[in-house]
């Protein structure tokens, strides 16, 4: 499992971002680096306290890894362009995210390129990005 994650992580560069504050996951949890994940949407949960995208990512070895990426609450990310119907099961999207530090396939949105090509937040890494709300405080 760890090898597969390394492969996925190696696809992208490690780019500096601003440390985050989060709801239950805490500021100590998230890496300051970013990863880029191209995958197939399995589920998009539009809910408080955080929206969650479940994404199936196929690594270079052909293994599929299921990632879960969190965003801020609907009220916060709506203004950035996220919607309840931004993701549908089967959509192919590219997510830029800050992964958690324990090596598991979980992370926080920095940005995304949706299936129709729409870009939200910072994709490809760098700077503060989508999914964190409008300067939203920790919840």
């Amino acid at each position: 499992m760890r090898n597969r994650l390394v492969i996925v992580l190696s696809v992208v560069g490690l780019l500096s971002t601003v440390p985050l504050q989060a709801h239950h996951t805490g500021a100590t949890l998230l890496s300051e680096t970013t990863v880029t994940l191209k995958g197939v949407v399995k589920n998009w949960l539009w809910s408080n306290p955080h929206c969650l995208l479940t994404l199936e990512v196929t690594g270079a070895d052909g293994q599929v890894v299921q990632w879960v990426i969190e965003a801020q609450a609907p009220n916060s990310i709506f203004t950035e362009g996220y919607r309840k119907n931004s993701f549908k099961p089967g959509d192919v999207v590219t997510v830029t995210a800050n992964p958690v530090t324990n090596g598991r396939p979980y992370g926080r949105f920095a940005g995304v390129v949706l299936a129709d090509g729409t870009t939200i937040g910072n994709v490809g890494g760098g700077g503060r990005g989508g999914g964190r709300g409008r300067g939203a405080p920790a919840q």
């Binding site: 239950h24 805490g26 100590t28 949890l29 809910s47 408080n48 969190e70 598991r104 405080p137």
Partner: protein, 291 residues
């Protein structure tokens, strides 16, 4: 109990409907459902207007965010100047707390912050978490509607005395009254622009924290707040904590300039739902934090 709650509720609603909120110097831009603007630029010196007398009515927002790193004046950053004067018991309480923020933050799977379970934050922690309030007042009381978790509080300004603090509650007119999440608050005007509020009878240390970083507070706390109108658009909100069970001396926790907002603003709701929180933890929080 129901009657008392009904009476307070009617009073609050009446205040909200009858008393107009102060309008800010500038209205929001053409939005029909405007939202708060925490970082609204300060009013230029030449445009400042004097504060109205003996009122703190209005929607007030802080530019400081949510004090995630601990109370505003003493962030929990490990620096000597921000160490708190704990009693031995207070330090023991602090060490038992496992916060998500601050110098002694732990991974989420180990945290025991009551907030994560959607427990009420209690007072004065509501002053130290994502501070934004709507304030209404009439001739007898001030009602403060806190943004986070849609909680509200009453400060009596009709001259009634502060209850006598007992073990586990307070004494009012010779009767025992239980401790409460917001305690018992009374206020008096020091001058036309300064309101001093004292609070006792808050919840015990096994139910509430002082801030996000796990600083403790006990039910023996006496909290003094000062609301000072600096001008029409600025309310300086200060707080001093005296808690001999936890701290060896009183200390000041915050002195925050609150900015007046457009009274037409429709505030985003911030309820903490146990069901939603549980769902979030099952899908993300537990695994992401190593559980």
């Amino acid at each position: 109990m129901l009657d008392r709650f009904f009476f307070v509720g009617v009073g609050l609603l009446s205040a909200a409907l009858v008393l107009p909120a102060n309008a800010p110097a500038q209205n929001s831009s053409g939005q029909t459902w405007p939202g708060p603007v925490p970082n609204r630029p300060p009013v230029a010196e030449k445009d400042k207007k004097p504060a109205p007398r003996r009122t703190i009515t209005g929607m007030w927002w802080s530019r400081l965010g949510n004090q995630a790193k601990g109370v505003q004046l003493r962030p929990n950053d490990g620096s000597p100047e921000n160490e708190l004067p704990y009693t031995p018991y207070g330090l023991e309480q602090y060490k038992a707390h496992k916060p998500l923020e601050g110098f002694d933050a732990v991974p989420p799977a180990q945290a025991n912050d009551p907030r994560v379970a959607c427990e009420p934050l209690g007072f004065p922690r509501y002053n130290h978490y994502d501070l934004g309030v709507q304030i209404f007042q009439d001739e007898n009381k001030i009602a403060m509607l806190y943004h986070y978790d849609n909680r509200w509080r009453i400060i009596w300004t009709d001259g009634r005395p502060l209850p006598k603090l007992l073990d586990g509650g307070v004494e009012i007119d010779g009767q025992f009254h239980e401790q409460r999440w917001f305690g018992y608050s009374v206020g008096r005007w020091i001058d036309d622009y300064t309101l001093e509020v004292q609070t006792v009878g808050t919840m015990p240390e096994d139910r509430v924290w002082l801030d996000n970083t796990g600083r403790p507070i006990s039910d023996q706390a006496r909290i003094t707040e000062t609301f000072k109108r600096l001008d029409a658009d600025t309310l300086e909100w200060s707080e001093t904590l005296e808690d001999p069970k936890i701290y060896t001396r009183p200390w000041q926790t915050m002195k925050i300039p609150m900015t007046l907002q457009d009274s037409r603003i429709d505030v985003l709701t911030r309820y903490c739902s146990p069901v939603e929180t549980d769902q979030y933890n099952k899908i993300y929080g537990d695994s992401a934090s190593g559980k």
